[in-house]
């Protein structure tokens, strides 16, 4: 480790730190703020932030007009019948009193020092910011063997509540669907963060959906840390369809044999948006599997995908595949991908593929030759490109809801 030198703050950094609660109540929060002051925000020389120079880009969170977000009460949950949990509310919602479920607003601040996984993250900027901005923990526990209706986590109440910290324990054999709702920041809060620690017990199954539709001026930094037990299934769908500056990190570690990960995601970019999805999948034990597919449609702005598959020594028979496919529809947009493999075991099958390109001309011609006008044909092909990964979700309501989101975006961009 090199000795840290105090570096002068950039104006944007100073402006952001000034937004943090001045005298945080919790000791963790103060420590986090101190650490931030010491480390500063990462720039592109920090490999984990290679394409998202937060030190510069954070200016988006502290300057410019902030659009007022949609009021809370008109938001219908993504999936009908969901139990909506407001992370900043401080009290459990009505209807939370169900068999197999317990909800607790613990009041603990986000303890950024106890990293739930085995990742080498000396400075975990997202966690630090989340803690420094005073996020307090909500613990959602699903008891062993239960199957519950969907739970929707939200953190956009008051300005202070725009920083959510959720601890989700899904015990052995349970099944849960959890929606992380990232809608427009309310009350003029320009900046929001969210950290979730998800622990999936042996044989349990979790479908986690990130539904990100922030408004055009919002900055959001999110992080999902996942531990996956033996024979457990972790399914994740990430939809990014909004925001000015958005980064969503996924850090998972398999802790039991037979664990399976299926990640699918769609990133839709326009204008000057900067959207970064960074995933690190650690295969720490033998016999685990993972597939990860992201589809990106870019009409403007900068899209980033950093995907890392790590296979620890001894994690034999790991089978992990990752793909990142981008459709670039305009020279105003760019997509930057860094799909990495880090392999320390010999008996594994790992691979990644990345493509970038335009709409396939042959397909376009084929549709047009059948009488479909060019614009419709293009729209159809773009839709098909992203629909493919949505449809892989074995959850009818989720497929429908997400496709509706995507359709709305495509219509606006057409």
């Amino acid at each position: 480790m090199t000795v840290h030198q105090l570096r002068p703050r950039t104006p944007a950094e100073s402006a952001l730190f000034a937004l943090a609660p001045a005298a945080p109540a919790a000791v963790h929060a103060q420590a986090a703020l101190d650490a931030l002051h010491r480390e500063g925000l990462p720039n592109r020389r920090v490999e984990a932030w290679h394409y998202t120079d937060l030190r510069q880009l954070i200016a988006r969170a502290t300057s410019g007009a902030v659009e007022a977000g949609q009021a809370d009460d008109v938001l219908a949950p993504l999936l009908a019948g969901s139990l909506v949990v407001e992370l900043g509310a401080g009290t459990a919602p009505s209807g939370a009193d169900r068999d197999g479920l317990s909800l607790a607003h613990t009041g603990d601040s986000a303890d950024w020092r106890t990293s739930p996984n085995h990742l080498d993250r000396p400075v975990d900027t997202v966690r630090l910011l989340n803690a420094a901005f005073g996020a307090t923990a909500v613990r959602v526990s699903v008891e062993a063997g239960t199957e519950l209706p969907p739970i929707e986590l939200r953190a956009q109440g008051a300005a202070a509540g725009a920083h959510g910290f959720a601890i989700c324990d899904v015990a052995a054999g349970a099944k849960a669907v959890i929606v992380e709702r990232l809608s427009a920041n309310a009350g003029g809060a320009p900046f929001s963060t969210g950290v979730s620690n998800l622990d999936i017990g042996d044989g349990a199954e979790v479908l986690w959906i990130v539904d990100q539709t922030k408004s055009a001026g919002d900055t959001h930094l999110g992080q999902l840390n996942v531990r996956i037990g033996a024979d457990a299934r972790f399914k994740l769908f990430v939809l990014n369809a909004g925001g000015a500056l958005v980064r969503y990190e996924v850090h998972s570690v398999t802790v039991g044999e037979g664990a399976d990960i299926a990640i699918r995601g769609v990133n839709l970019l326009r204008d000057k948006q900067h959207v970064d999805v960074t995933t690190t999948l650690v295969h720490a034990v033998p016999h685990t599997t993972a597939t990860e597919v992201f589809r990106n449609v870019v009409t403007g702005g900068t899209g980033v995908f950093q995907g890392m598959i790590k296979v620890a020594p001894g994690a034999q028979k790991t089978d992990a595949k990752m793909a990142c496919n981008s459709l670039l529809l305009s020279d105003e947009g760019e997509f930057l991908a860094k799909p990495e493999l880090e392999i320390f075991a010999d008996d594994v099958q790992c691979g990644h593929g990345a493509t970038a390109g335009e709409i396939n001309e042959d397909h376009l011609f084929y549709l047009m030759s059948r009488g479909i006008p060019e614009a419709s044909a293009r729209a159809l092909l773009v839709k098909a490109f992203v629909a493919e990964v949505v449809e892989e979700l074995e959850h009818e309501a989720a497929v429908e809801a997400l496709e509706a989101r995507i359709d709305a975006w495509l219509e606006l961009s057409a």
């Binding site: 760019e334 799909p339 990495e340 493999l341 880090e342 790992c350």
Partner: protein
Amino acid sequence: MPAVQETIDTVARIDVDQYKYGFETLIEMDVAPKGLNEDTIRLISAKKNEPEWMLEWRLQAFERWKTMESPDWARLDYPAIDFQDIHYYAAPKSMSGPKSLDEVDPEILRTYEKLGIPLKEQEILAGVRRADEPSEFGSEDDSSVPPSEGSYGRRVAVDAVFDSVSVATTFKKELQKAGVIFMPISEAIREYPDLVRQYLGTVVPVSDNFFATMNSAVFTDGSFVYIPPGVRCPMELSTYFRINERNTGQFERTLIIADKGSYVSYLEGCTAPQRDENQLHAAVVELVALDDAEIKYSTVQNWYPGDKDGKGGIYNFVTKRGDCRGANSRISWTQVETGSAITWKYPSCILRGDGSRGEFYSIAVSNGRQQVDSGTKMIHLGKNTSSRIISKGISAGRSSNTYRGQVTANRRAANARNFTQCDSLLIGEECGAHTVPYIEARNATAQFEHEATTSKISEDQLFYCMQRGIPEEEAVALIVNGFVKDVIQQLPMEFAVEAQKLIGVSLEGSVG
């Protein structure tokens, strides 16, 4: 564990003991005092009889270097290098400069003979290139092998660089007839100053990176090649680098210019004695291809890799870059990397000319405690440019092998095309294989395809080969050679045969 003795035997057999070029040539040397400072630079410049502008260039680079820090982003772990504890110049006493072959110290000639590089033209003419040796099966039927294959007894012009000086350059006269300039760069600086000044540092700027800047300050020798317009170089050109002196770094600089419509194929080989201490090699290679020109650059890198415990070995920090400056120009890098304790090397192409093409074919084999961080950059700037990357990494022993590559299509690089295939093979449980690609599409008409896989030699394949009577090590070599075949095919034939053997030797002892 019942296999204790077996384990010991396996470890004892690990490849690095197999290094065949670890001998030392005992010869009186003229060595500069240790340390990197202005005096050292002035001394090098004086030894080379350089013009003033060259000295100035070096001193400016040195000033710049003092402000720079050694890069730490690569996946390499080595102790900090004490740059003041190295000799920056060493030359055989008998060789104040390159002389005619008759005058070269016989000890040096013997050294090169031992390395399989005959420097006497009559010997080369007599077909020392083992024309009688049959090529490997299969490859001879392959249509994708370069057209030069099959012309047995082909001549290769050699520039032999021994520590800090070029000791001999063959076929100079014959090449001159075709207008081709092939000589040590130190000589070119004196004889063709305008040509050197026009191109030196234009591909790898003086301030490019820590090691390139250092090289700019202290480079000693290397080759200079100029192919005039429309000329197809009549023979392969080659430079053979040998580090011999203890505690000495080698800092060579190579500059190749292919003028409009010309073609050259250039080969590079390197070896060093087996020593306990690490030695530094920091080279810069610049290639310039003008309109419609083509440069093929092949390397078989076999520096001493260190022993089985990671003691000794060459630290190899190399900046290689080609500039496809002209329209429809083409630069192709092919490398077979089996040596060095540390390899830090990214032969790259700047695809500036419209319609230009860059290629990178690489095999990197690591064993013992070797660490490799190597790959390429393809920077698409011009319109309708294309690039192709085929990388095959093989890790064994306790080595670490990283592919790091960047493909960028700039906003104005309409219709840029890239295809990347990057495969890693692991042999044994204690090694690591990593892939770090940076894929940057900034243009809607760019088409990128990138694929990477990591796997091990399949037990089924191994069993199948053994069932046919092929012993295990040979079966591994056979399968590995299949794995690397698309890259081997890119090499000129002599190198292909050598490379195949080298890979076999490097992997010896890797199956327990």
